[in-house]
Amino acid sequence: ACTGNTPETTTQTGSQGGVKVANDEPGKKVVIGFSAPAADHGWMAAISAAAKAEAEKYSDVELKVVEGTNDVSLQISQVETFINDKVDAIVLLPFDGAALTPVALKAMKAGITVINVDRAFDSPFAARSTVLGDNYGMGVSAGTYVCEKLDGKSDAVVAEIAGIDSLPLTQDRSKGFADALRECGLKVNNRVAAEFTVESGEKAAANLLQAAPRVDAIWNHDDDQGIGVSAAIKNSGRGEFFLIGGAGSANVMREIKADNGLHKATVVYPSTQGADGIRLARLAVQGKSLGDLVEVEVPRQIELFAPVVTKDNVDRYLPTAFES
């Protein structure tokens, strides 16, 4: 399940690559601690599940997964526990990147390899390596796609169903979206925020559809909440617009492929970042590098690509998309 396995990054480290043999060969045993926010929505649940599945593929990796939490204080203490425990590496998807920075620094000082996933720390010294989705890029991709589809329609109404509004990543996505729309003279006419869950998506969309009697395009940040969004749309009996998803679930891709629904596209935001983090942690600890790079060390930062999946290219992404 790897929506995010874009050729640029993962194929090279993936099991199909020629160099993988060297990299995948069992090496020194690596103990990895993994901590992430509470699995209060599908994408986040998929993150931990993928990380766990990845670790199981390696006989030399022992993964410690702790209770997902949105309480920064608790997450800090989890990392402290990993430090006390002298794990080799920590893969950390922080609830709040800035808030977890001090403890990540502490871990690095203690000689532990920290891999930062998805939400960035605010110090370059806090992680050995960072895997980021391109949140701003997601917004730009979605906005650009809207511009293309609504080509020339200057009075078009665009709506946005954002995710958890207090997360920086949501703000980045919205900013990218607004910036891209501005390029073609459009703007976000109606915006609501949900909580990445199906239920919140339904609720937000139901209200949104009342707020906007006519819409031409809707971008929904997250395909999990998108199930609820679709339910609300179906219920309203409306359909004068098209829908763009986010994150890239198998569900939505199937709908795009069949071309029988309102979803015309989705913007991938890989739920495999955690899994990538596990691999990177292992490689970094074992002193290996990314196979297809000439470079002998694991890179400092990997920013994943946020491609737009449409009917035309869906076959390429569907096999690795995550199930909601």
């Binding site: 599908g42 609501v192 199906v198 919140s200 609720k203 339910a231 609300a232």
Partner: protein, 345 residues
């Protein structure tokens, strides 16, 4: 103050002793709705006025009002059940988790297969049974295990959500039982089935709380458990029944939610406990037990859902909404108090 006294307060004559029950029930319902809840009604009306002024036709639109009602229905059903538990002197923090577990259990592949092969009602029964089961566990822990309700249901909150996650493997389970979807997507004379179910639950809740021995005893158990015991009421059994009733309401809510979102999920019902308790308390039910009103609860639910609708129609930021929400809650309650007090004297 319960709804009966409310009636008395509105029409101080103590009424002909032989008056028809149905008529009195209706006067009681309306009397209490208009009388005791004046403040809530005024708050709701004010909200609607603001809605009309700021969003015009988009607010007053029938579709929009139905949207509000549909959103109100899920949390509304839970809140009606919560009114019983709180009136009976308890509290339940696990309602959201029970909704989640019921929704997941009712939408597992196995249940759905049975539902398709047999009858979609089996899905409904599963949700109700799971809800009732959790309610029984809550009730037994509280009444017989003598664990404080807050703690017992907190434990249930953790356990039921964990179980829902394990069952669903933290995946969203999509419903594919045509009969089920068809039934709940329908409307009767333009009114969605979901809304009809909410109205039914509220009316039945009102009748049970105000017109049955069970309801009278609920007030007694919540108001003065020792007096209730001395009056020969089996307080423990009654407590178990109250939590079971709420559990069943959670099961119903799960069904409505499955219908609304076409999914079952361990993330369903997030923070329902706070929303439901807030609606109940703003409606005038005493958190300490002994006084409760279904009509007030329904107003409480409507106020909260209308609030978020009006905000959304106006494209306000979530943060501004939150600040305004705080202010509006305070104003609504102060209004309710002042008006209720004036109505008293």
């Amino acid at each position: 103050m319960n709804e009966n006294t409310a009636t008395a307060a509105v029409a101080p004559t103590s009424g002909p002793p032989d008056g028809g029950r149905a008529r009195r029930a209706v006067t009681g319902l309306l009397g209490s709705a208009a009388g005791r809840n004046t403040g809530l009604v005024v708050a709701l009306v004010l909200l609607c006025v603001v809605g009309v002024i700021t969003a015009g036709d988009r607010f007053a639109d029938v579709d929009n009002l139905l949207t509000i009602l549909r959103l109100a229905s899920v949390i509304g059903v839970v809140s009606v059940g919560m009114t019983f538990v709180i009136t009976g002197g308890g509290i339940d923090l696990s309602v959201g988790a029970i909704v989640a577990l019921s929704s997941v259990w009712a939408t597992t592949l196995a249940t759905q297969a049975v539902a398709r092969d047999f009858h979609w009602l089996s899905l409904v029964f599963t949700a109700l049974a799971v809800g009732a089961g959790c309610g029984v566990v809550n009730g037994v822990l509280i009444a017989y295990g003598r664990i404080v309700a807050f703690i017992a249901t907190l434990a249930m909150l953790a356990a039921a959500r964990g179980l829902a996650e394990i069952m669903s493997n933290r995946k969203t389970q999509i419903v594919d039982v045509p009969g089920f979807t068809a039934f709940f997507d329908a409307s009767v004379f333009g009114v969605p089935v979901l809304v009809i179910i909410f109205v039914l639950v509220a009316v039945v809740g009102w009748v049970v709380l105000n017109r049955t021995t069970f309801g009278r005893r609920t007030y007694a158990v919540g108001g003065n458990p020792e007096a209730a015991r001395l009056a020969g009421i089996n307080v423990r059994r009654h407590t178990v029944l109250l939590y079971t009733l709420l559990g069943v309401c959670c099961g119903i809510a799960a069904i409505l939610l499955i219908a609304r979102t076409t999914t079952g999920s361990a993330t369903h019902g997030g923070l329902y406990e706070l929303d439901a308790i807030a609606a109940v308390v703003i409606g005038g039910t005493l958190l300490s037990g002994g006084r409760g009103t279904i009509a007030g609860t329904v107003f409480g639910v409507l106020i909260f859902t209308t609030l978020s609708n009006v905000f959304t129609l106006n494209n306000l930021s979530i943060s501004a909404q939150a600040v305004a929400k705080g202010a509006i809650i305070v104003i609504a309650v102060l209004l309710q108090q002042r008006l209720a007090r004036r109505g008293d004297s």
